[in-house]
């Protein structure tokens, strides 16, 4: 697998489309165990990202993702803003000067991103957050050949698993055990991010290419 800068750009644009489509649903999820703004936060942030990157062409992945990260940081707000922002910022460091991203580079970028989320949010996997999607995806990316449908399935299953978890971080933690009947909104938005990634891979032809 090789993702060109253009493919990466399409990944982000596709992610935005998913955020817009799922804005209401994400906020509904957040209303159940949070404050009901997650969809609006993500939709606002990714729309700004697309406004910034669409039409521009980037020479390498590092500057693309730095732009993505800085825009998310300054436009999302809430808990999701610094976390997604930090994730992409850390990844952009890994992807500096790269004109294509192969599976190994993807794994390294994700590793840096996850470390960033953990430092910033002081959460662990199992705390019912977006980390519970990022973790399993990272494990998959670093151990198996990437396949579009498999990637989607991994993300979906990880997201669905957060339903049973009891939240330990973020607003949902206030709900204690009562949080354990609802999918985590940040996990759902991360699922959308990786679903979009999977679709970008297909666009490049063979999923294993």
């Amino acid at each position: 697998m090789q993702l060109t800068v253009e493919a990466l750009q399409r990944w982000i644009i596709n992610t935005n489309e998913k955020m817009q489509e799922n804005k209401g649903y994400l906020s509904e999820l957040d209303q159940a165990i949070g404050d009901g703004d997650h969809g609006h936060n993500m939709a606002r942030g990714f729309q700004e990202v697309v406004n910034k990157i669409e039409g521009n062409s980037f020479e390498e992945a590092g500057s693309l993702f730095k732009q993505v990260a800085m825009t998310l940081i300054s436009k999302v707000g809430g808990a999701a803003g610094p976390l997604y922002g930090t994730a992409f910022l850390k990844a952009s460091d890994e992807w500096k000067e790269k004109t294509t991203i192969d599976q190994e580079a993807l794994g390294k970028g994700m590793e840096a991103a996850i470390a960033g989320i953990k430092t910033r949010g002081k959460a662990q996997e199992g705390d019912k957050t977006m980390l519970d999607v990022w973790g399993p995806i990272h494990a998959y990316v670093t151990t198996q050949p990437l396949q579009r449908e498999k990637l989607k399935k991994t993300a979906k299953e990880a997201m669905e698993k957060t339903k049973e978890m009891t939240a330990k971080k973020g607003r949902a933690a206030y709900f204690g055990e009562r949080s354990a009947e609802h999918v985590d909104p940040g996990a759902y938005s991360s699922y959308l991010v990786f679903e979009a990634l999977a679709e970008s891979i297909t666009n490049e032809g063979d999923a294993n290419g």
Binding site: G36, S74, P82, G170
Partner: protein, 318 residues
């Protein structure tokens, strides 16, 4: 959703415009940002004081920008923490060379965004300290407690200390001491509706109330049926006083805070009972704030905040 607004996306911007239109001689807005700053800022030789958070808690936070209080307030979207870039610009705008104190309520979003801004400012050579307010005892684990109306006491006390020319370290230390001596708890009678979503944040039956609800509608401790104000006040006060160590003769300040749509009449009825209970315990009520200080849009209900005073805190509160 019946609200006096134009576009839901515009509420924060238009509110800030309204605040500036009301007080142009005292306040200014940082161009292009959702930030209200004292007209005189940055003030040389004074520690800069910043508070902020999601909007929808008015008068918090811009309403507390002024002499002996905040130098600036950063407003996020409704119920959404503001972003680090806005906070960073605010830090720069109020730094008078003596450093800046950030007063932050303990929500993961606020903590992370203010943290990032503090790191950025420090990288640019500005001294920054933070105080995290965690006064809502409805949450069990101390470290996870939310910041609610008690934040106002931190604004006020740190504000006076800063005005006196104290150093950043000193102001931060006084602010932290204040924060550590505050406990709050609320009760909600009806939910609020975020303009962008248009739907109430939760539902309560006609005869149902929720004890311990957060100012964004976060889940409280338990749902009960409506009961007389005195009984409810006693329950809340017992919870608070159970958390605090008061000896007879010690002094306290109290905020009986309206969450948005509860008439002042009812707040005074609650405050009356709170004052009576303090008296019974021989705690001296030295200062009362009754009204809307930290709201949750049009949520009905109230919160009670108790600050345990010592001579230092008392002198800065007045």
């Amino acid at each position: 959703m019946k609200k006096l607004i134009n576009q839901p996306e515009q509420v924060v911007d238009e509110m800030l415009e309204g605040i500036i239109a009301a007080h142009p001689e005292k306040l200014k807005r940082l161009p292009g940002l959702n930030v209200v700053v004292r007209k005189e800022a940055p003030i040389k030789g004074k520690v800069g004081l910043i508070s902020g958070g999601g909007s929808g808690h008015e008068p918090a936070h811009a309403g507390f920008v002024g002499e002996n209080m905040l130098d600036a307030a950063v407003a996020g979207e409704v119920f959404t923490s503001p972003t680090p870039d806005q906070i960073l610009e605010t830090i720069k705008a109020v730094d008078g060379g003596k450093g800046v104190l950030l007063i932050v309520k303990n929500y993961s979003g606020d903590v992370m965004n203010f943290d990032m801004a503090a790191e950025m400012a420090q990288a640019e050579g500005i001294e920054v300290e933070q105080v995290i307010v965690k006064d809502d005892i409805a949450v069990d684990i101390k470290e996870d407690r939310r910041g609610v109306a008690g934040t106002i006491f931190v604004h006020k006390i740190a504000g006076t200390a800063a005005s006196e020319g104290k150093s950043l370290k000193e102001v931060a230390q006084i602010a932290r001491k204040t924060a550590e001596n505050i406990c709050s708890m609320g009760v909600s009678l009806s939910p609020s509706t975020v303009p962008a979503s248009g739907k109430p944040g939760f539902t309560l039956n006609d005869n149902e109330i929720e004890i311990g609800t957060g100012i964004h509608g976060e889940q409280g401790m338990e749902r009960q049926s409506l009961k007389p104000a005195d009984q409810l006040t006693e329950e809340i006060m017992n919870n608070i006083l159970h958390e605090m160590e008061f000896s007879p003769g010690e002094e306290a300040a109290v905020i009986t805070n309206g969450l948005g749509s509860t008439p002042l009449m009812e707040l005074y009825i609650v405050h009356r009972k709170a004052a009576e209970l303090l008296k019974n315990k021989q705690i001296q009520l030295k200062k009362s704030l009754v009204g809307e200080y930290m709201t949750s849009l049009e949520m009905a209900g109230c919160s009670i905040t108790i600050l345990k005073l010592d001579d230092q805190l008392k002198s800065y509160l007045n």
